[in-house]
Amino acid sequence: MYVAVKGGERAIDAAHDWLAEERRGDLSVAELSVAQIREQLSLAVNRVMAEGSLYDPDLAALAIKQARGDLIEAVFLIRAYRTTLPRFGPSRPVETEDMVCDRRVSATFKDAPGGQVLGPTFDYTHRLLDFKLAADGAVPEGDEERAEASAEAMPHIMDFLAREGLVQREEVSGQMPPDLTRTPLELPAERALRLQSLARGDEGFLLGLAYSTQRGYARSHAFVAELRVGKVAVEMDIPELGFAIEIGEVELTECETVNQFQGSKTEPPQFTRGYGLVFGMSERKAISMALVDRALRWKELGEDNVGAPAQDEEFVLYHADNIQASGFLEHIKLPHYVDFQSELELIRKLRREASEEEPPA
């Protein structure tokens, strides 16, 4: 147990001064601006927005600067700031069908209506260090002037399977979803609550769990039916106006997986789906989320619980939040003197008793 301590103010002030100095680094090297972080470390910014659960690239960039690049510390700063803001209300659910896609690929249909566009991807790069970047940051000439922009719509690929009845249908009840930032997480959690928890969960944790399902712990043989990245308008009903307007737009990554399903007592054999939706360009997280979402759905799909970690919603949802986790983990480095003192007394007493019981040699 942590017991409050007093004193140490001078040392703490000096430590924080030194922290500021270390953050700045060598003064002969130019200082990073928040705008440079926002523009040039955008995937770090995206991760901080997703796990901080607040879409604001400038704030996320500031948090990364303040945290010296420690992204979980930056997420902590964003979560703390968020609590100081009033909430004006909920948006309407975003329609990802209308996304202006920078990237859209399918691993299931090569001739997807609307076409496949790679967008700015690391895929198919050779993962060789590019020493040219150390020398200068020149940008290659794009050939976009020659490319004819297509006006073709990009419908969700899953819709084609849904129309044939080959994939499980999604329910639309129109109910307001539960919000774990307002009401503590309680189990069993409905899917909306699980998705919220996964969307703000730690990328590394979800990646590990998703990988475990691929390796056989609750295997569901996922295909990426569609992965899309792009901007989506956010609409909100404005009470004083009596109509909805777009209040902004956010970049999102969406992953829909199509998974094998043998059928159950109530359902004929059909494909099932896993779903991932994440702020920013964050494919690894979106795919991981979809796989874990699918694994957690075993009960509603009438599947067996094989005891795999990714099927255990208590295990997954209570350990996915890196701020909760690091808060509890890191508190053990703070003074626990009184607590430990009692442990020390106890172990000395037990040793004394043990040696008294030992028969004389």
Binding site: L85, P90, E95, D102, R191, V234, I247, G248, R273
Partner: protein
């Protein structure tokens, strides 16, 4: 499914103002060179809106995460009320957007449309088409290879 996207004139300009970058709005607002008499009814105040997604893209809503929003309401000297809900945390942007919304309901509308809204809409369209061209350049045609066994 929700109603189709907003498209009365007022919804269109409010949506445009919400998505505009603060510097861009400040520039065209400056070009308008109007200092309309007004009283602040609310704000500008910074807050958040909880963005919802849909389970499986088409199903029930779930809470994805919040975004920052600044809102502002003004009353012009003539009594007209203007509202703004804009993305981000820029109070000047929210105030300018509310004034534009108010002015668009007055006789000044044609001038405001010409100097403020049209340039912003053109900039947005340019950004969109430039990005669409970049996207199109990465369009890929995959084809499967016949296996050689038979």
């Amino acid at each position: 499914m929700s109603d189709p996207a907003p498209h009365t004139d007022r919804q269109t300009w409010m949506s445009l103002l919400a998505k505009t970058r603060p510097e861009a709005l400040a520039a065209v607002w400056g070009a308008l060179d109007l200092t309309p008499e007004h009283a602040l009814l609310r704000g500008p105040e910074i807050g958040t809106v909880m963005v919802q997604g849909r389970a499986g893209a088409v199903g029930d809503g779930f809470n994805l995460g919040e975004m920052t929003i600044t809102r502002c309401s003004v009353q012009l000297g003539c009594g007209t009320v203007g509202h703004a809900y804009v993305q981000g945390r820029d109070k000047d942007k929210a105030l300018q957007a509310a004034l534009v919304d108010g002015l668009m309901q007055t006789d000044a509308a044609p001038e405001v449309r010409r100097v403020v809204l049209q340039p912003l809409a053109e900039q947005a369209e340019q950004r969109r088409s430039k990005r669409a061209a970049k996207t199109a350049a990465t369009k890929v045609e995959f084809f499967t290879l016949m296996r050689g066994e038979d």
